[in-house]
Amino acid sequence: MIKVSQLLKTVSTADGNLDILCGIDLEIEPGASAAIVGASGSGKSTLLGLLAGMDVPSGGEIWLDGESLKNLDEDQRARLRAEKVGFVFQSFQLLPALTALENVMLPLELAGVNDADKIAKKYLVEVGLGERLSHYPTTLSGGEQQRVAIARAFARQPRILFADEPTGNLDTRTGELIIELLFDLNDRAHTTLVLVTHDERLAARCDRCFAMTAGEIVER
């Protein structure tokens, strides 16, 4: 379960303080899927980063799976991520020194999972990259890198999966394939899905849909 209450995020810029999130309240039950839509710059990525514990809010509180992030330090939040959270970044974030396969193995190795390479291989095959296991990120296209990033997030079978525009760089067919994968995971493992998307079809498949405008959120 994800619960957010009165979440604030303010940053100081050259032109004074900028409120990016102005009091967000949100509750998503376990196993549900939720879409967040909104214009560019409305604060979607910021919210997702906060939910995953990668940043600290200026006010308000977040609970992930019943645990409040408020009293956790950086390392404790990292442990929480390692155990429960998967993240697909808007800009992929693959390690350029590692091959596609090694990138996917990374979170498994960090969690000390045996057979990391078998599991990683399986997920890469599922996203259609079975042939590109030993390729380095710089030699992959944007869409291919996106799929490696998705395989990496899936491989750990997280309780909660955050995805920042997972289909943004993909053609319709591959996009659909990825959407299938996401909901398959949601069905089989009861993974909670939180997706930021501009894709109306994807938003429509989610249980819930939230719209963001200038740091405010409303459910549609």
Binding site: A78, A82, F89, Q93, L95, A97, L98, L110
Partner: protein, 827 residues
């Protein structure tokens, strides 16, 4: 997982270059340090035995009375070799018309324990070094004694009541300077013949010498055993005393090598810092990703710590191996020139190498990586969230202090360390000032120039902070390289100047005033050029300002003024090659009672400018005022004097003359004729020593060359890693310029200008720093004279510009060789 992951990271990261630079720098630092310090410690033991040659032993007990047998037994019980000697002046008689006052030295088998006794069959015949000592019943004579006594090989002479057979000529004794018994020419005989001569009576002026040789511990334990037993008239001579000339050369070489080692460490630490910084910068993003995937700070720290540890261990081992090879190379190079087989270096160099590696890793490689653990995972979302600053001021301070400490510990000389630090500080301070002024003023100049210049200069300015740092590091590297080259070449020049090809190689002493003309005629006839004749009178300094100095006691402590005996001379002008450091020189017609002292002599008797000395020549005492202090170049082969008077003051005292002259090897027989014409003169053959010195110098210079090239390599490494540190930004910018339509020529032109300007500025700074450090080193450490090196001021900037320019453009060559698309995808 961490160890596997760190291994994977290490092996993957290898391609990107920072780690290989880091490892290379570490190997270089460790190998130079290990190589140089083990070579130097082996050299040290060789140097000690070199000075041992001047005693003919490792230590000598000198006594006015015969030794008790117990001492010899004790020395032998400690595993030491011993040899007995007796010295005294006496008469040698050939027949009623031919007799001479000689200085007799009787030695036992085994003499000398160190060094070689050189002798020949004929008076100036081929020199033999092998063979032992005169057999019982035989004597060897100084060459001029043959003429004085009018004897030839196989003749008999009388010493006291013993008739002895002449079987050879003494040419050089290792302890000629320390074992002097009177002024007569040498007569060498066997100690077993002494009782037969019957000349030693109670009260005779005799010096007994017990020569002792063996390994250092045994020698010092015997010294400790014997010292408390010494009575009036007995003393111990050990080898720390007089420094021989070859020792001097090797000593400076040693100083140079240690300096080079320290510079290698400084350069390596700079290269390591740069490489590690860049590694750290590139890994900020990695760490953010790892953290977003759930890695904790300590896991990150362990990951990078472990990687460094692995790298450090590999570097240390490789460094020790290479260092051992370097040292073995030096030893082979110097080979049999070293007086004895160099000893073992032991484990200390390895220990030094390990500490060096640890310091490099801990204080230079680790700080930029340590803070990686603190990187925020947020930077995967936003690129502007880096780690605040990968290194803090205290990191730099700690690094700086540790390197100074390491240098000091390593070269053992505060002066060397301070000289280098002073140069580096000059570079840093000037560097940041210049960076401010020039880089920021650059745009204004660029405004008037062409478009390539404008782009280039604004580029320099935009990265102003990074550029200032880069420039200072370039300047430091160039400075250290220049410094070492300068010191090396001035050492070599000085060594060679000390042995010019046409330098006098013989000294002639004891020429009576009325023989001056005979000598001049003789040399003219033989076609030998001779240096000026110097009057020479033996005299003693008794007191300073009417305060009597203590006589040189049995034990002489450094620094306590005491009476000294010396050769006095007179001169109208400052002797050639001398430097006046205090006071003024007198006019030729000055008749005031004045004198001029050599620096160290003045210190020995405790006199300064304006003091009045009481002196004694023969039985006469007189006073004179110190009017000047001179510095004398003892390395020159000219006659040099401690005490010089105006002509009118000294001329009234009886004295002899001395001079030096040069003989070619095939002119050697001239000496035979010389001693028959002037039988009372003494000739000292320096050519044998000189030849040996020349080979040593050539070889040592070769060794220095080798070390210099290693240092140049470390310097190049720093330059490469410096250029690489700004590579990403430059590549991205250039790729964008090309993507936006700039022609390759323009992009390349801007790069050339940027790097040339950086290099020229760094070179100028380096010249300033080098000048300061070279001054400090040459005057304070190497005892050499300093003069500004004008060439530095153009060599520095020009080489700086060319090297940095070429390296920089070469590193960025991909900008024009690859498509902008490929580049943008990478960076």
């Amino acid at each position: 997982m961490t160890s596997r992951l760190s291994w994977k990271l290490l092996s993957r990261e290898w391609r990107s270059g920072e780690l290989s630079i880091l490892l290379l720098a570490l190997v270089m630092a460790v190998s130079v340090v290990v190589g140089v310090s083990s070579f130097v410690s082996r050299l040290q033991s060789a140097l000690l035995s070199e000075s041992a040659r001047f005693l003919a032993a490792d230590m000598v007990v000198v006594s006015r009375t015969p030794f008790s047998d117990e001492w010899v037994r004790e020395a032998e019980a400690q595993g030491l070799a011993t040899s007995l000697g007796v010295g005294f002046p006496s008469m040698a008689v050939a027949d009623i018309d031919h007799m001479a006052l000689v200085s007799i030295k009787a030695v036992s088998d085994g003499y000398p324990l160190r060094g070689d006794l050189r002798w020949s069959r004929e008076p100036y015949g081929d020199v033999l070094a092998e063979g032992s000592v005169p057999a019982v019943g035989e004597v060897w004579l100084a060459p001029r004694l043959f003429a004085l006594l009018d004897v030839a090989l196989g003749d008999r002479i009388l010493v006291g009541e013993a008739g002895l057979l002449v079987t050879g000529a003494v040419r050089a004794e290792p302890d000629a300077t320390t074992a002097v018994f009177g002024f007569g020419p040498r007569l060498l005989m066997n100690v077993e013949d002494i009782p037969a001569t019957g000349v030693i009576q109670p009260g005779s002026r005799v010096e007994y010498r017990l020569l002792v040789g063996g390994d250092r511990e045994a020698v010092s334990s015997f010294t400790e055993w014997v010292e408390p037993l010494l009575e009036q008239g007995q003393r111990v001579d050990s080898i720390d005393g007089s420094q021989p000339r070859i020792g001097d050369t090797l000593d400076r070489a040693k100083g140079f090598l240690l300096l080079a080692g320290s510079l290698a460490v400084v350069l390596a630490s700079a290269a390591i810092t740069l490489a590690s910084r860049r590694f750290g910068e590139r890994h900020t993003q990695y760490v953010a990703i790892l953290k977003s995937l759930g890695a904790r700070s300590w896991e990150i720290s362990r990951l990078y710590g472990l990687s460094l540890a692995v790298l450090g261990a590999i570097g240390t081992i490789l460094g020790c191996v290479v260092g051992w090879a370097i040292q073995a190379g030096f030893i082979t190079l110097l080979g049999d020139l070293l007086p004895v087989r160099p000893g073992h270096a032991g484990w200390t160099p390895v220990y030094i190498g390990v500490v060096t590696a640890a310091v490099c890793m801990l204080f230079f490689a680790w700080p930029p990586l340590r803070r990686l653990g603190l990187a925020s995972p947020l930077s995967v979302l936003r690129t502007d969230v880096g780690i605040a600053e990968s290194q803090r001021p205290q990191d730099y301070l700690l690094g700086g202090l540790s390197i100074v400490g390491l240098m000091w510990w390593y070269n053992g000389s505060a002066a060397v360390t301070m000289a280098v630090v002073a140069g580096l500080l000059v570079v840093m301070v000037l560097g940041f000032l210049a960076a401010r002024g020039l880089l920021y003023g650059g745009r204004r100049v660029g405004g008037f120039a062409g478009s390539i210049w404008r782009v280039a200069l604004s580029g320099l300015q935009r990265r102003g902070h990074a550029n200032a740092l880069q420039m200072v590091i370039f300047a430091m590297a160039i400075m250290l390289m220049l410094l070492l080259s300068i010191v090396r070449s001035s050492l070599v020049v000085q060594w060679q100047a000390q042995l010019p090809a046409d330098a006098p190689n013989h000294f002639l002493l004891n020429l009576a005033p009325d023989e001056k003309l005979v000598l001049e005629d003789f040399f003219e006839e033989q076609g030998v050029t001779v240096e000026a004749l110097y009057p020479m009178t033996r005299g003693r300094v008794l007191s300073v300002n009417a305060e009597e100095l203590p006589k040189s006691g049995e034990f002489e402590w450094e620094g306590i003024p005491r009476q000294r005996e010396a050769n006095f001379t007179w001169s109208d002008s400052l002797p050639e090659g001398n430097l006046l450091i205090e006071g003024e020189w007198w006019d030729a017609d000055d008749a005031r009672a004045s004198l001029s002292l050599e620096e160290s002599f003045a210190q020995d008797v405790g006199a300064g400018l304006g003091d009045r000395l009481t002196l004694r020549i023969g039985a006469e005492e007189f006073e004179a005022e110190v009017r000047s202090i001179r510095r004398v170049d003892w390395q020159s082969m000219r006659p040099n004097f401690y005490v010089v008077f105006p002509r009118q003051v000294l001329e009234q005292y009886p004295g002899m003359y001395m001079t030096s002259f040069r003989l070619l090897p095939d002119q050697k027989p001239v000496l035979n004729q010389l001693v028959s014409v002037l039988p009372t003169v003494t000739v000292i053959e320096l050519d044998l020593v000189l030849r040996e010195m020349r080979t040593v110098i050539d070889q040592v210079a070769g060794a220095l060359e080798l070390v210099l090239s290693v240092i140049l390599a470390s310097g190049a490494l720093v330059l490469i890693s410096g250029v690489r540190s700004s590579l990403d930004a430059r590549l991205r910018e250039s790729a964008l310029m090309r993507a936006l339509g700039a022609r390759a020529r323009v992009v390349l032109g801007t790069l050339w200008i940027e790097f040339l300007v950086l290099g020229a500025m760094a070179g100028t700074l380096a010249a300033a720093g080098t000048e300061v450090a070279a001054w400090a080193l040459q005057t304070q450490v190497f005892d050499m004279t300093w003069s500004p090196t004008i060439a530095l001021w153009w060599v520095g900037p020009v080489t700086g510009a060319l090297i940095i320019g070429a390296l920089g453009v070469w590193s960025c060559r991909r900008v024009v060789n690859t498509t902008p698309v490929a580049l943008l995808r990478e960076v």
